[in-house]
Symmetry: none
Amino acid sequence: MEPGQRKEMILEKAKKLFAAQGYYQTQISDIIREAGVARGTIYQYFKNKEDVFISLLEKYYGKWEKDAYLAGDLDLATISPREYLFHRIRRTLSFFADDQDVCRIYLRMGLGLPGELEAIIRRFEKKIEDIIVNDLRLGVRNGHIPEDLDVTLTANLMGGALLRIAYLYFATDENADLDLDLLARKISAILGPGIFLPSAK
Amino acid sequence: MEPGQRKEMILEKAKKLFAAQGYYQTQISDIIREAGVARGTIYQYFKNKEDVFISLLEKYYGKWEKDAYLAGDLDLATISPREYLFHRIRRTLSFFADDQDVCRIYLRMGLGLPGELEAIIRRFEKKIEDIIVNDLRLGVRNGHIPEDLDVTLTANLMGGALLRIAYLYFATDENADLDLDLLARKISAILGPGIFLPSAK
Amino acid sequence: MEPGQRKEMILEKAKKLFAAQGYYQTQISDIIREAGVARGTIYQYFKNKEDVFISLLEKYYGKWEKDAYLAGDLDLATISPREYLFHRIRRTLSFFADDQDVCRIYLRMGLGLPGELEAIIRRFEKKIEDIIVNDLRLGVRNGHIPEDLDVTLTANLMGGALLRIAYLYFATDENADLDLDLLARKISAILGPGIFLPSAK
Amino acid sequence: MEPGQRKEMILEKAKKLFAAQGYYQTQISDIIREAGVARGTIYQYFKNKEDVFISLLEKYYGKWEKDAYLAGDLDLATISPREYLFHRIRRTLSFFADDQDVCRIYLRMGLGLPGELEAIIRRFEKKIEDIIVNDLRLGVRNGHIPEDLDVTLTANLMGGALLRIAYLYFATDENADLDLDLLARKISAILGPGIFLPSAK
DNA sequence: GATGAATGAGCATTCATTCAT
DNA sequence: AATGAATGAATGCTCATTCAT
């Protein structure tokens, strides 16, 4: 096996395992078993377990930047802004759809809770989704929301957006004196138009 | 100390630690040190470490459901749908803003990577944010996007929404034969109207 | 509940548990659950776990001595020596047959190995029994041993006898310079006559 | 150190400790200290503590079967049945005499009670021995038992035989409706002839 | 006497990492 | 470069015992 290939191979096996079981629950033993190399070999290519994980992140982040998002053939001179948005979204989706393992790792699913905990969290998330879906359906029945809106998709889109905002603004010590009202106004101003019918006040 | 209070106190200390260090990096030893109880005491109230974490999740999920999201005074008879959306968002933000620790735990930040890894992931996420922000600024300069749009907020909102969708549709084995074009269309139809000026095509 | 009765009751519950699970695998928690008393109560009657076990041994040893073995109505003036032997044996059997739990405790079965280990030891003992049984059957076929001899009983009787002798003479440091030939001669002289037909040389 | 030897060495040290202190009172820490290996090393050769013990049992059971009991040079064509019995007994004694530790482990002495408990049990067993010895001496004085009978040996042989029978027939749930009279008759028929003088009725 | 919450010494086991071959 | 036996710090958990009420 050529040098370089061996490192690559270990990385691929590690990716599968990290994606499936998370960082903490993936043992070096698992990786060497899957890769079919000796225990010491892994330390020839990587400083330690953390380095294996970081190498993975960097590899696929680079891939995303190069292949997916920044691919330079989107020209605002030839396509409309809305088409541009569409293509950006389309490519990002493709990137994740292409590699389920990378997807799992980046989306922090595989980062590592014992199986049961993971299941509990999913149950909670499902419940949140249900609540929003119900709201949306109510809006449809009341004639404020178009009938053909994909409510499940929308619910998750809204949920994901909000959680990200919460993470960004509240999970750190900064932004302590934030104007929540203003923030909520801004968010609804962005999400509202795409959800409600123009007729809805 | 009254019965019940002790369990509550341990839970609060554990919350702080899980939020700050993650599940795996929080040791039982840390919890008992912070709580000032003996090693065995924690096992009087919780089956094991996992049970402490689950108890936390359940406690705060319940709190969210009761206090924040489902609080029953939002009446569509008296407020408009757009106001309703605003209040829902407002309350969810309040819930997370109220308790930074819960926020961190729920947003899966504290779930557990060694400090350095966590930092690397944040760097990546910042880069993604920058890319989207740049796109948005371009749109502003080109007159397709209103000047007063909060581009950082919008970038994260879009990013969060997309990642959640990716997680939902791609991280599991189901949905294998998804129509990505259609999906991307739907998403841009929801996000577009709130971002672009009506004049943008 | 009268004083004294409570101690007795705890002792009986402990007996059941020690017999079923062994000393080490029986927890104080098990005993108080079965006895329906508080954790502290047991320490009002017994110094510690060891004391519970010792109390049991002493109680049932005394019982054996008084009721079973030494019961004074065996009079060599009225019965033959062989009848005397028979009655002694009969009474000892009754004692053990009467109380399976005491039986298990005294016979050191319940003294304490994790279930699987116990099973392995039994398998070994069965194999030993089989080997001796085969020998005896060979003797029957060769006409040296009476046809109506209970070979399983005899095998265990011989095995038990030998193991006890081994325990007595070899498991301690004394008796280092034992004449094994002489010892084996003596043992066969005692066991032989009851097993072989007079015609066997 | 050659491969295989290390496992063997650990096993030998463990044998000493199990024999001296019993299963429960022997800690992994003791074994590694005695063996002079690191804590993790023991888990390279054995699944867990139980596996160490099982390995010991299997090793020495195999040894007994091969070297001691089943050694094939006993030919009933050339030796008498009584000689055959003698040699079987002789070899079994040798096996146990050879290795005091194995002896202790197999005879369940080392299986595990805290030191003081063990001593108490021995005291009881001694008392039982004394009672039987006294009976035998009485028989000698009365002229029913030969003067040169080794009464201590005989007492233990009888005791061992009886306890084994009790264990076999009473310690389990089967054999509930046993005819104790018949059983006692059979046992005395086997033990009697080797103990009593023919003149004793 | 009775209670049971609190204790903490003690234990088996894991697993990333090293290093002599 | 590759190997894998050896390492030992670290960790979650148990359970007999205590003691304030």
